[in-house]
Amino acid sequence: MTFAPAAPADTHVLSAAAMAVALSNVAAGYHDRVALEDVSLDVRPGSLLAIVGPNGAGKSTLLKVIAGLVPAWSGSVSVLGAAPGSAAERIAYVPQAELVDWHFPITVSGVVMMGRYPRLGLARRPGKADREAVREALASVGMLEHADRQIGALSGGQRRRVFLARAVAADAELFLLDEPVTGVDAATQEDIMGILAANASAGRTIIATTHDLACAAQCFRRVVAINRTIVADGPAEIALDPDILARAYSGHLLVLGGNRVVLDDAHHHDESASERHFHDNGG
């Protein structure tokens, strides 16, 4: 078993099969472009882990390799004790909010019900147990009263909670979340992180990418900083360590007093602006 440069938060050594996720010397990419190389990462069940790094550092690719959506070119990948893709019905993946068609004709409970589809199998219609699981999942994220609304009629934070409810309804053991708190306000961020922490405490493994270093430091238990390969891996405080950040963001980070400003992150601000506009409309 290999360890990344900084000591991982896990002190006990588990075998790869007992880990929720075990990557060893993984390289991956798209067509002929390398996005990740020499990535080794062990994640215990019940972890609450943030993947941080600049745009184009491979955060989403790493998440997709774990999800079985992008194949590893080399190295070994074990997810929930199996090859990637083999334990798929125990994995819930939540895409970036901007990749979802929010005008899609589906209700909140319809989205959450999708979490039940993979286990139902072909030609089977959702039954009473499925509807009950959907209600429980919606209640666990505080969205039960919105069950019959169209998904796009919700605020940004509510939409994300619905996707978390889908993961809960799927009874997934591993949550893979691409930018779950990007572009939401501080109170919403706290709500979402509360839901994630509760699920981690219940034994589920949570891995999320994030642009937000303060959130990574405060709300997660472990942080992995990447820039094509793992730059640092350790307890959440490392997300605020200037030396580690300088390596991850290689010069694109401006440290002003206690505030960290990431300069290459224009997109994040755009989304925040549209989010605020949405709240103003009373969503």
Binding site: A67, Y117, N281
Partner: protein, 285 residues
Amino acid sequence: MDLVLEPLGYPIFIRALVAAILVGTVCAVVGTYVVLRGLAFIGDAIGHAAFPGVVVAFMLNAPFYLGAAIAAVGTALSIGFVTRRTTLRADTTIGVLFAGTFALGIFLFSAIEGYVADLFSFLVGNILFISFSNLIGLLILGGVVLAAVAVLWKELLYSTFDPLGAAASGLPVGRLEYVLLTLVALTIVVSVQAVGIVLVVAMLVTPPAAAQLLTVRFGRLMGLAVVFGVAGAVIGLYLSYWLDVASGASIVLVVTTIFLAVLAFNPRGGLLRPRGQQQRRATAE
């Protein structure tokens, strides 16, 4: 009333009526996925790609739907394959294959000597030309499409709404895409004689588009699309019979009229409703 009942005395009209209901239903069901996935252009392309198959079947004296099915399904799968295996954009691949296959159809069509009114009817649609044996073939084909959707509706829905989430949780998203393209191709085969190759995309896209303006629920959207599609096909058939015009054009004009009426007057913010109401709606959302 006689105007409505009188044509029902003719077997040729009864056959056309059955075909109209079939086309309206199958197109609306498959078209719902086409609209939600943004596949309208592919639908148009596959319609045109069916033409060389129809012409070859005519030359070989085989049922037109066999030739159309081979050409349409072949083109649909080629579009999916080339798009996945190259860096070309999907609309580019479609543009190349669609024009190429349609050109082949026109080439063969113009090479045939003598009277080819039968073939011309496939371009603009003539639902009254459907023979009994063709109708049976189309009913079987349409039944296969509806059965496939009945088995796969929720997997197709999940992979349409969130392909990454669906794939990560184990659904075979890539294979489902090929299945959907095949269903689109078979739907077009069922529809070309009624509405014609040039217009078939309208039957796939227009009824679900009108329904999408009226509801935010997937099941209701598909149901409403079927109502609009069947109503459009049946009313269009009558218009075609009464006025002696091409059935494809009259059917498509009826569904287009339904769409425009919904667009103008629908209760969820039609374009011709007072502005105040529209704004209240936007605020409520």
